[in-house]
């Protein structure tokens, strides 16, 4: 999946900027490989995914965070089946790229993107960067 490799963005710098805040949400072992879990931060609900070890992302588990709402009908993305670097919404099978929030299927206008959040892992703890 070279296509996926290209779209992987490096997370922003680890220093929280003025309007961003790193929030620790879980330990790595709380999310099994190739599954997602939801977490509420303030009034946001995020989906945190563990993409598991894979050829395109390397040996270790990799974590990504998005809004937990499918842009289609609001389905919980955290409950979707993970396929590569995407998740498939359990309601109507919209396919969302977890690295950039793009809707991969069906073909829809780009404003139907899902918000993504930078993730970092320190000593087995997952933290996401959310706006203040």
């Amino acid at each position: 999946m070279t296509e996926a490799v290209r779209s992987v963005r490096l997370p922003p710098s680890h220093e929280a900027s003025a309007d961003q805040n790193w929030v620790r949400v879980a330990t790595c072992d709380q999310i099994p490989p190739r599954q997602g879990r939801s977490v509420s931060i303030g009034d946001r609900e995020l989906a945190i995914f563990n993409l598991g070890p894979s050829t395109e992302l390397g040996a270790g588990d990799r974590f990504f965070a998005t809004d937990n709402r499918c842009p289609h009908k609001g389905g919980p993305l955290c409950d979707g089946i993970v396929t590569g670097v995407s998740a498939v919404c359990p309601l109507h099978a919209w396919k969302i790229n977890l690295t950039d929030g793009r809707v991969e299927r069906p073909q829809v206008a780009s404003e139907h993107c899902v918000a993504t959040y930078a993730v970092r892992v320190d000593e087995g703890v997952i933290a996401v960067s959310v706006p203040r």
Binding site: V25, P32, I48, G74, I81, T83, V88, V125
Partner: protein, 800 residues
């Protein structure tokens, strides 16, 4: 009639004899074979070792074939001498057999490199069916196997041993795997693929000795290092068997020298196959044998003029999931090289073009258009116009286009040498409609099997009543038809979805194939597989049915629709306690609690104290019943009792698609058994068992499976059908499509009318699955992972 003696009962000898038999009979034929088997497809031995084929599936010529053609077959007799003056051959059983014409098809033997200790117990070649059987017997989990030789045969042996459970190391003298077929880059891709499969590869190692007391213990390299081993396979190459040629006084170099007419230096002695040397080349692959055999048959029967001018060498690695193809001379000097490499997909292609013509090709990871290159090589066509499309075929508008592009003289089956024209003639003149008929009629597709899809395409395009034996593949991630895949998973003993995806798929999978594979593994291993919840739909992760707002519905099991005041009270209490937005009586005589939060599911289940009704999964839903003889004045059978029993027997099992059942006490059919996947219809003195009914998206009246006298018999017949459906339907294929596809006659024949052994098998596997099946809601108290039903809780105070 003249006496023709054939020494060698292998592929080359018998292919040649088949050609000779096409001419007017002029020989009494005697065949000597030192193996004790009829002629089998040696190319397929690796498939036997890998468990993909049974030994009897690779037989080419049956005993019946020898009899029918009046061939005197002497198996287990090795010819040890030839007397060209007396024109006799002498067997190791002391027999002396006179000949008028002698055909040497002695093939080749495994070459044993100068390694100390080759006589140790546990060292094998991989050349014959007996070798293969020995290897299967000696391998298994815990066996450390070392394969010496990283060529075609060595790699196929390695994969086969690994499938048999061994830990396998391939030790190769050269710096590149399959260096005769691959360049350095192609070889590196192959190393990665083999290692991904779990085969260790050591390159550039010269094996010095095999150590051990009596049995093999260790393989030692010239550099002093080594690996522990208790099984060693030597696949370091082959040497033509030329002994008899020498004894007959023939000109022998590396092989028995033949001319273009396939004559040796003795006018009464002929030779074919791997034992010959033609224009300085000894061939070790299957296609040349057939081409030589044709020419030899013409020469020996006096139809002179046929000429063998050599064969374009082509090799294809036969390891499922590892695609490697190489043909021609890709290293020829002065050629232009065109390359493509996709490290993500593991695809590597290299094409060498010289003087505007294809000189050679290497394909790793994607060999789907190998036939195109073979065709260019054979016809030596000028590539002028196609230069820009050498690495990928132009997008074809329809499936027929690829075959339409081939001319009638183009070779479809390179092994047997069958052209497109021959196949079309067979279709028109002999009414060929299926691949099996095509094999029978033209022998196409009986060698290495790599032309199967091309033959399919040709049949599809030309045959008037084409019957596709190939079913559609699951999805692009795992490009196999489901029945094929079931065979593969079973024979390769694969137990996890991720493993299957990595070996036979794209390594990733999707929402279509993952649940399908999950089901398949659960069914094949009767629940004793490595369950991976990430491969299941959310409903099967949390055992409830997801609703449009992300909440879930809960349907407890109410067997046969019969409940109790106590259960109803608990349901009512749960509805109150969790403020369940809707409580609904379903069409299945059950109660649905809708709008429950994921995190509440375990508590709801515990409070209900009832097992899961599986209303969310592709599995056993329910048995709908009428009141039957218990209360109904028309009832002839106890339909509620039978329904509860039926539900108890099948519940908690997964099926290809949902299974809904019903039992009715009389033909008035109040619980609609005639439109259920399985229905029991009470009649005076017995039951009718009906299957394949539907009243959903499709409406279909169920077919009568059988009529029986007792309830137990009705349940038994249902069980046979139920397990048969589990094992043979495609994922997401309802019984009504399944029964319709197969026809009820076939279903009956393979269930209730099947031989006892078959029925026992179905019952045993059913019982095994049932013994492992558990109420899914027990996971409410013992989750598979700590957050199975929970949301994550932030560890920091937010926005400090």
């Amino acid at each position: 009639m003249r006496r023709l003696v054939v020494v060698g009962n292998g592929m080359a000898g018998m292919a040649c004899v088949e050609q000779i038999l096409k001419y007017e009979p002029q020989f009494r034929i005697t065949v000597f074979g030192d193996e004790t088997h009829v002629n089998y497809n040696r190319v397929m031995l690796s498939s036997v070792l890998a468990g993909e084929k049974a030994a009897d599936e690779i037989i080419i010529n049956t005993e019946e074939w020898y009899r029918r053609n009046e061939i005197d077959l002497r198996v287990g007799v090795r010819i040890v001498d030839v007397d060209p003056r007396a024109k006799t051959v002498i067997g190791d059983d002391g027999s002396v057999t006179p000949y008028d014409a002698l055909l040497l098809a002695t093939g080749s033997s495994a070459w044993m490199p100068p390694i100390e200790g080759l006589d140790k117990d546990g060292v094998f070649a991989f050349r014959t069916l007996d070798d293969t059987r020995q290897l299967i017997r000696r391998s298994g989990p815990g066996t450390e196997a070392v394969v010496i030789g990283g060529g075609l045969l060595g790699l196929e042996a390695a994969r086969g041993l690994q499938v048999q459970g061994c830990r396998v190391t391939v030790v190769h003298l050269m710096a590149t795997l399959m260096e005769r077929q691959l360049d350095k880059d192609g070889g590196q891709h192959l190393v990665r693929t083999m290692e991904r499969l779990g085969v260790r590869v050591l390159l550039g190692r010269s094996t010095k000795a095999i150590r051990g007391k009596k049995r093999v213990e260790r393989v030692e390299f010239a550099d002093g290092e080594g690996v522990d081993a208790n099984l060693v396979v030597v696949a370091a190459g082959i040497r033509p068997n030329v002994d008899l040629g020498r004894k007959a006084g023939l000109t022998v170099k590396r092989g028995i020298v033949v001319n273009d007419a396939m004559e040796t230096s003795d006018p009464d002695i002929f030779a074919v196959g791997e034992c010959v040397e033609h224009r300085g080349i000894c061939y070790g692959l299957v296609a040349p044998l057939y081409e030589q055999g044709k020419v030899l048959a013409a020469t020996i029967t006096g139809h002179g003029g046929a000429e063998y001018t050599g064969t374009v060498q082509a090799a294809k690695l036969k390891i499922m999931g590892v695609d490697v193809f190489s043909a021609g001379d890709w290293d020829v000097s002065g050629a232009d090289q065109i390359k493509y490499e996709d490290s993500g997909r593991g695809v590597y292609k290299k094409v060498a073009v010289k003087d505007g013509k294809l000189a050679g090709v290497i394909l790793v990871g994607d060999t789907s258009d190998s036939h195109r290159y073979m065709d260019w090589l054979r016809t030596n066509v000028d590539l002028g116009d196609t230069r820009g499309q050498l690495l990928f075929p132009p997008p074809s508008a329809d499936a027929g286009l690829d075959v339409a592009e081939m001319c009638d003289g183009a070779t479809v089956c390179g092994c047997v040498g069958v052209t497109k024209g021959t196949i079309i003639a067979a279709i028109h003149e002999r009414g060929v409609n299926t691949i099996s008929q095509l094999k029978e009629s033209t022998r196409a597709c009986t060698g290495c099997g790599s032309c199967t899809s091309l033959c399919q395409d040709l049949l599809r395009a030309v045959a008037p009543d084409f019957e596709d034996e190939k079913k559609k593949v699951i999805c692009a991630c795992v490009p196999f038809a489901e029945d094929r895949l079931r065979e593969i998973l079973r024979s390769q003993k694969l137990k996890s979805v991720q493993e299957v995806l990595e070996i036979y798929g794209n390594g990733i999978g999707c929402e279509i194939c993952k649940p399908a594979l999950s089901y398949m593994l659960d069914m094949l291993w009767c629940g004793d597989h490595d369950e991976d919840r990430s491969a299941r739909f959310i409903n099967d992760r949390v055992h409830a049915n997801i609703q449009k707002d992300g909440t879930f519905s809960v349907v407890p099991r109410i067997r046969g629709g019969v409940t109790s005041p106590d259960e109803l009270r608990r349901i009512a209490d749960v509805a109150d306690k969790y403020r369940v937005p809707m409580v609904k009586i379903t069409g299945s005589q059950r109660i649905d609690l809708l709008g429950i939060k994921k995190a509440d599911l375990p508590k709801v289940w515990a409070d209900l104290g009832m097992p899961s009704g599986q209303a969310y999964t592709k599995g056993v839903r329910m048995v709908k019943t009428c009141v039957g003889t218990e209360f109904c004045r028309f009832g002839t059978q106890d339909s509620t009792g039978a329904g509860i029993e039926l539900e108890r027997r099948f519940e908690q099992l997964f099926t290809p698609h949902k299974v809904k059942m019903a039992t009715v006490g009389c033909p008035r059919n109040c619980a609609e058994a005639t439109v259920k996947d399985i229905g029991l219809i009470g009649i005076e003195g017995g039951w009718q068992v009906v299957v394949g009914g539907a009243a959903g998206k499709s409406v279909r009246k169920a077919d009568l499976l059988t009529t029986v006298e007792t309830t137990e018999q009705a349940l038994d017949a249902s069980e046979l059908f139920f397990q048969y459906y589990r094992e043979n339907a495609n994922y997401l294929e309802r019984t009504y499509d399944f029964v319709e596809r197969l026809g009820i006659e076939k279903v009956r024949k393979e269930t209730i009318y099947a031989p006892d052994a078959v029925k026992c098998g179905l019952r045993d596997r059913f019982a095994k699955s049932k013994a492992r099946a558990r109420d899914a809601w027990l996971e409410g108290q013992a989750p598979t992972d700590p957050t199975q039903f929970a949301s994550l809780e932030v560890l920091d105070k937010v926005f400090t």
